[in-house]
Symmetry: C2
Subunit: 241 residues, 2 copies
C-alpha cells in the first residue's frame, strides 16, 4: 500500500457541554499542528454569519499560538487553499458547507493540498463530515441542495458526528440514530460509518488512524452488528476498507 | 383566488408512543376518505422492505373498511396513480421516498390527480414531507441523493414532522430542531415551516386548512418569532402565503 502524506484530525464536535469553544480538543489541536505551522486557514461556510464565526475561531486559535485567516475574506479562495499551511473547517450545517465548497471550486484544491502536499487538516462536526466519503450520514437538515453528496473523500468511510445513543425513556417516535445509519446500510455499496459520540476524535497520520478523546465510538459495517471501541483504538483497517 | 379541488390529510407521524399503526388518526382517515372511496393506492417507497410495509398498511386499511393496492406491485406505477381513487404515502426515509417518486416519474402524475381530479391524498411523516414545497425541513438522514429537494408542492409551505421541543436537561450539543429550522430561514426566499409535534395533522379542503389532532403546532415564518397554535386553528392563510 502506498503511504499517503495525509494528516487529519477529525473531531466530533467543537464544544462539549459546559466547556468553551474547542476546549475539549485544544491540546490535541496543538499537538497535531505542532510548532511548524504558524497560520491556519479557516473555512466558516457552515454558518450563515461568516464574520462572526471567523472572530470566534480566530480568538481561539490565537490563544493557542496560531494566526488564523478566514477563507471568506480571501479574494481567491482556491489560491488561499493553495497557499495555506493548515486547514480548519468548522461545524454548522453540512449541506450549506458542502455546497459552498463546490460553489467555490474547493473540493479538488483541498484534496490536492492534503494528499499531495501533506498539510494538516482539522475538521469539526460538519467539517468532519465533509472530510469523509460523503455527507450521507450527517444529522443536519438539508436546508440547501449541494450538487452532490460526495465530499472530500480524505478517508474511505463515513462518520456520524454527535452520535447519540437511543434514549430508552423517550416517548418520541422518530428514528433513533442507529436506525438511521442502519437505513443507510440498506442501500447498496455503502461504506462503514463511525459513530462519534461528542468528545470523540480521530487522528489520521498517513495510513494509521487512532481514536482519541474521552468517549467511545460505535462502528457500523454493512450487514454486521455494530461494535464499540475505546479511545486509543486502532482504526487503520478502515482507511482501506 | 381560484378554488382548488385539493383534499389532503397530512399527518405528523403514523404511530404514537404506546399506540398501534395509524391508531391515533384512524377516525380522521375514515372521515376524510368517507364512503365513496373503496380502494387506496399505497406508496411504500420510504422503507426498504416494501412487501412488509404494504402488508402492515393493507392490514390497517382493511380493518378500516378500505382495500389497499401497493404501487410497488403495479406493472406501471404512473398508470396506477392515474387509476387510483385515493393515495396514501407512508413514512420512513424522506430522501429515499422522494428519489423513488422521481425515478418512477410520479411527481407530475400525483400532482395532476390531486389538483385536477381532486382525489384524496393522505401523507404520514415522510409522506407529509413530500406533499409540501420541498423536503428541506425533513429530519431524515440523506441516505440517497434525489435529483432535487423540490417535492409535490401540494401546499405552498413546508412541514417539519415529529417536531421536538428542546430538551432543557440535555447535555447534547447538537442543534435543536428550532435552531435547524431557523438555519433554513437564514436562506433566501424560504417558505413558512409548520412544526408538527407527534399527534398533529392538517386537513386541507380546497383553500381551507385546519389543524387537527391532540397536540399544538409551531409555526415558523422567516424573520418572525415562532408562534404556537392549538388544534382547530385555521391555517388557510398559509396556503397562499
Amino acid at each position: 500500500m502506498m503511504t499517503l502524506k495525509r494528516h487529519l484530525l477529525l473531531i466530533s464536535n467543537s464544544t462539549l457541554h459546559g466547556g468553551g469553544y474547542l476546549e475539549h480538543c485544544q491540546e490535541h489541536i496543538q499537538k497535531f499542528l505542532g510548532v511548524q505551522v504558524k497560520r491556519v486557514l479557516f473555512v466558516p461556510y457552515a454558518l450563515h454569519d461568516r464574520d462572526d464565526y471567523a472572530r470566534t475561531a480566530r480568538q481561539k486559535f490565537e490563544s493557542l499560538g496560531y494566526g488564523l485567516d478566514s477563507i471568506h475574506e480571501a479574494v481567491d479562495p482556491v489560491e488561499a487553499v493553495q497557499k495555506s499551511e493548515a486547514i480548519f473547517i468548522g461545524g454548522g450545517n453540512t449541506f450549506r458547507l458542502l455546497k459552498a465548497l463546490y460553489d467555490n471550486g474547493l473540493i479538488p484544491a483541498i484534496r490536492k493540498r492534503v494528499f499531495e502536499d501533506g498539510i494538516p487538516y482539522i475538521g469539526s462536526s460538519a467539517g468532519t463530515n465533509v472530510a469523509t466519503v460523503s455527507i450521507n450520514t450527517t444529522n443536519d437538515m438539508p436546508i440547501v441542495y449541494p450538487p452532490s453528496l460526495l465530499a472530500l473523500g480524505l478517508v474511505a468511510f463515513n462518520i456520524n458526528p454527535h452520535y447519540l445513543d437511543a434514549d430508552v425513556n423517550s416517548r418520541h417516535m422518530g428514528e433513533t440514530r442507529e436506525q438511521r445509519i442502519s437505513q443507510y446500510h440498506e442501500e447498496p455499496d455503502t461504506p462503514p460509518v463511525l459513530g462519534f459520540r461528542e468528545g470523540c476524535m480521530l487522528l489520521v497520520e498517513g495510513n494509521k488512524a487512532t481514536l482519541l478523546g474521552k468517549t467511545k465510538a460505535r462502528l457500523f459495517l454493512r450487514d454486521k452488528e455494530p461494535t464499540e471501541h475505546e479511545p486509543g483504538h486502532d482504526f487503520s483497517f478502515l482507511l482501506d476498507y
